[in-house]
């Protein structure tokens, strides 16, 4: 690696093959008899946060690490703040601080799920997997279903404005600090959100209906498309309710039996580890008791709805029951059901926002607590894309000495690779990568809402590069879509 480093200065030799950063790069590997053996989704980004955070003062961390991701920075902001709560010995936040943070988090989940559904996923659902790529993006939706496109834009705006009101900025705000928050929500700020709430609730119900109706109407097709059994991991509240902000970690197996439950975040290293593979900068997390082969798991909306016992808001709970009835209350493994589950959470977030806005604690003035200083803190949060882990050690000079981050998309790494392998096995015929294969790879990856797709996709389709490799790793065919 070191030689690579040194040769990699600014004078790099540019390969004649064009590539785009942010491309979902996929290689499909064939065995001797020409069968698909494995497909790999390569994550080509490396930034080194774990190392360069070392030496920074701990109070900087919530604003620093959120720069990992501008798509859901609130997740990193809050998860780091929660870990720093442990460091400053804040065992329990004030009601105002906890609720302001929750409002920020539900605002973010609302905008992120709306963005994904309306801007990215709805074209697949509205136009079909194989439709013209020229219309499969938000502007295509705008042309054919202008009302839906406007709804998507306005729902995202609503969530972004909640983030701004609680953190100061729409992207990379500063609201959460170790031990609490730095502002409350004024009556004036609150009233703006209450005014539009009814509309948001109505649109959330409508979006849920689109996702539900689509899945139910096409149940056979979506069940056939890339369904595979897996373990699921999610935070749950002490009483088993869905909780996106806090709780203990639960893992269930494919039949819904608990592998572990109410795991305290500080103990995560006893339960979870991450395997390194040479061909991707993204690691492969697994449940330690099951090992690398059997221990991989999925996270995100589908896993959360599967893992929780109930939802504590009425409309979303109703929707959850309907969702679970499809698989007779057993875990749902249909990859495309992520979209439906995501819309249940969209509605849940909207209901939670209402609950919080009506709570006078948001106008409280007691914002920060502190206790006995600790050396180590771990926090887990349910980010829009799944369980997010932050782990820090801080020395007596208040400097960070160790940082470990397991981000949500990482936990879905194995599942996305399996999804792509499944699609390749099913749709690859001969030795050529067809447009149809490309479409299906794209749809399979997008169900997981990985950051790379979300981001590169906001204004167009997912750029993809798919390479077909022979048994000796020789390139047979390559197809790029920008």
């Amino acid at each position: 690696m070191i030689t690579t480093t040194e040769s990699g200065k600014r004078k790099v030799v540019i390969e004649p093959v064009t590539r785009v950063e942010g491309h979902g790069k996929v290689t499909i590997h064939l065995n001797e008899s020409g069968q698909v053996e494995q497909a790999r989704l390569h994550i080509v980004e490396f930034r080194g946060f774990e190392r360069f955070i070392q030496g920074r003062p701990y109070w900087e961390v919530p604003v620093l690490v959120q720069r990992l991701c501008g798509i859901c920075p609130v997740s990193h902001h809050l998860c780091a703040a929660k870990a720093m709560d442990v460091i400053v010995g804040a065992k329990e936040l004030t009601p105002t601080a906890e609720k302001i943070r929750r409002l920020m988090h539900y605002g973010q989940t609302f905008q992120s799920h709306a963005l994904h559904f309306f801007h990215l996923a709805s074209p697949d659902l509205l136009f079909g997997f194989g439709s013209d790529v020229a219309e499969r993006h938000v502007l295509g939706v705008a042309a054919k279903h202008p009302d839906l496109a406007v709804q998507g834009v306005m729902m995202r705006k609503y969530g972004q404005e909640i983030i701004k009101a609680t953190s100061g900025k729409r992207i990379h705000g500063t609201g959460a600090i170790p031990g609490g928050v730095n502002k409350n929500l004024s009556i004036e700020e609150r009233d703006v959100f209450l005014k539009d709430l009814g509309q948001m609730m109505e649109w959330s119900h409508a979006a849920l209906k689109i996702a539900r109706d689509y899945t139910v109407a096409n149940l056979e097709m979506v069940t056939d498309f890339n369904t595979f059994e897996s373990n699921h991991v999610s935070l749950v509240r002490q009483d088993g309710a869905l909780d996106l902000y806090d709780g203990g970690l639960r893992a269930i197996d494919a039949q819904g039996e608990k592998i572990f439950d109410h795991m305290h975040p500080q103990k995560y290293l006893d339960f979870i580890a991450e395997e390194v593979r040479s061909w991707s900068y993204m690691k492969f997390p697994f449940i330690k008791s099951l090992g690398t082969e059997q221990g991989w798991y999925r996270v995100g909306p589908l896993s959360r709805i599967n893992a929780c016992d109930f939802i504590d808001t009425p409309a979303a709970e109703q929707a959850r029951k309907e969702f679970m009835a499809v698989t007779s209350d057993k875990p749902n493994h249909i990859t495309m059901a992520y979209h439906w589950a995501r819309m249940i959470e969209l509605l849940h977030s909207c209901e939670k926002i209402q609950e919080l806005l009506e709570d006078p604690d948001l106008q409280g003035e007691d914002l920060v607590v502190k206790g006995d200083r600790q050396e180590e803190g771990v926090a887990i949060l349910e980010a829009p894309r799944g369980s997010l882990f932050h782990h820090y050690r801080v020395d007596e000079n208040d400097q960070v000495t160790m940082a470990n981050l397991i981000v949500s998309t990482t936990s879905n790494n194995e599942a996305m690779n399996r999804a792509v392998t499944g699609v390749a096995q099913k749709f690859l015929s001969g030795r050529e990568i067809t447009e149809g294969l490309l479409n299906h790879v794209e749809v399979a990856i997008r169900a997981y809402d990985p950051c790379l797709s979300c981001a590169t996709h906001a204004l167009g389709q997912m750029p993809l590069e798919v390479c077909l490799m022979g048994p000796d790793d020789e390139l047979i065919h390559r197809r790029v879509r920008h």
């Binding site: 080509v44 080194g48 920075p73 992207i171 593979r277 397991i406």
Partner: protein, 182 residues
């Protein structure tokens, strides 16, 4: 359709926050779609990225060979190139790795991290992964950049006003409130 000016965007070593800030123009995104043609193939296929892209928006600095390649292609094909945000302008947060050796950064992530399971002791090195540069470079150290929009990210209004001024052939005259250095 083809008479509309073309706009292309890319994220190099950034976090996509600047792209999200562009989306934060909210309902104006639909208006923007009427004003310009988004070059859907953002970037680097020369045949597709026509020579007449009017504005290229760059998010992020350069941390690997692909970034450099994409950035040079942008320079080649865009009349006006804008560094959008802290990372494109100065390297930003990712450039915090610059005082540290790349080897140390990789070892921390793939060998020493407390949850790492890596019996082979290998750091990812597949040919499918682009070569990392020794440091993270701001865009203007790699190609000529015409404008810099500061901020992490620049506010949506900053991006909107800059873009509409350029497209309307007017001077980019941003008020003080829209110039943020955070």
């Amino acid at each position: 359709m083809s008479s509309k000016p073309k706009v292309a965007t890319t994220s190099l070593c950034g976090c996509f926050g600047c792209h999200m800030s562009l989306l934060d123009i909210d309902e104006r995104i639909l208006k923007l779609a009427e004003l310009v043609e988004f070059n859907k193939s953002p970037i680097n296929d020369i045949k597709v990225l026509a020579d007449d892209v009017v504005v290229g928006l760059i998010e992020g600095g350069c941390c690997n060979e692909e970034n450099v390649h994409v950035l040079r292609d942008f320079r080649l094909h865009c009349k006006i190139l804008i560094s959008v945000g802290e990372c494109a302008t100065s390297g930003g947060i990712p450039a915090l790795r610059n005082p540290i050796s790349l080897k140390e950064c990789l070892e921390e992530a793939y060998l020493n991290g407390p949850s790492v399971h890596n019996p082979s002791g290998k750091i990812p090195n597949d040919p499918d992964l682009p070569l990392l540069l020794n440091k993270v470079y701001p865009c203007h150290e790699v190609v000529k950049i015409d404008y810099h929009l500061p901020g992490c990210p620049p506010p949506a209004d900053t991006i909107w006003q800059a873009l509409t001024a350029l497209l309307g052939n007017k001077p980019m005259d941003l008020p003080y409130e829209l110039i943020k250095y955070d």
